[in-house]
Symmetry: C2
Subunit: 204 residues, 2 copies
Amino acid sequence: MKTRDRILHTSLALFNEFGEPNVTTLQIADEMDISPGNLYYHFKNKTEILVELFSWFEQQMNDLLDIDDFSASVEDQWLFLHLVFENIAQYRFLYQDMVNLFGRHEKIGLRFKRILEKKRKATILICKTLEAQGVLTATDKEIFALAENIVLTATYWISYAKVMHGSQGDSELNQGVFQVMSLVAPYLRAEEREQLQVMGEAYL
Amino acid sequence: MKTRDRILHTSLALFNEFGEPNVTTLQIADEMDISPGNLYYHFKNKTEILVELFSWFEQQMNDLLDIDDFSASVEDQWLFLHLVFENIAQYRFLYQDMVNLFGRHEKIGLRFKRILEKKRKATILICKTLEAQGVLTATDKEIFALAENIVLTATYWISYAKVMHGSQGDSELNQGVFQVMSLVAPYLRAEEREQLQVMGEAYL
């Protein structure tokens, strides 16, 4: 792996473990056993590393959210949500202590907000399609409130699980998927609702 | 007001505005126009101020959550939630960047976790009572998942609204109450569900 990529991967791991504000470029260089000068040759400062990592995150999340065709099956929605949660977990430092992070990096904050907006729109689109197919019954107003709650829950689940359950493992991701699906459950047709219950028991 | 109380109130205002990690004891003294020595006479360091403010928060929230008798009406639940959200808003710095804050102050983190646990139990109790009264229809499993989602939404609503809508006003609190109530809505009897819709339109 090239030094530039190694710097990015090492930074991501350290940011996720200790929180971005608690990691310095010196620690990153130290962890990689390279000189600070070598690091500065590739990145002038920590912000440049952060911006590059954010672009990785943004690209992956946008690829996930560019939905034009999707299946209405409960299994497929579960899988889709699992991929979203995996992306969140991979860049969990962005979701921790957002007010601090985006207070210091406003442009990144605006780009993050656009991602949340996109998630909200994708969620509304999915719900409306399920509604048209008779799988889900809800008014437009209910769908709007539901979509906001879904995005909020997906955004903060990992932080919440860390504070509440002290966990960081894979079971926490499945639990997150289940919590989001349980927001949708009461609006689903009996058949899909039962299916969801069975899947929840299989994964948790 | 005594100097000690003024220090606490000033600290709370500054923590809420700038985030606890970004406020120093020197800034607190400066804002109050007192000498650092005067501040240190009352509090040895910022942690002592934080611990005292946390005790205020904890006392108020515990008073709210010590529910033994409650009304099942939608208006009363709305009011109760509004009081919870007001407490959260009053100590919003605790809810911002929790991973950082509780990473540095583990004991406070444990006490905060106990508050969340208490909220979850109070929510389950309310839902089960509504269920027994025929106002709400849900299985025990559904109530457990619902309670977790309610606590998560209440905990993170203000941070989410700040990132997503850039707002900090009172409308955001009403919106938070509405979002939490909308989690419960699909489980409610038609009568209460309609009532909630009407209240939502009146407050938002």
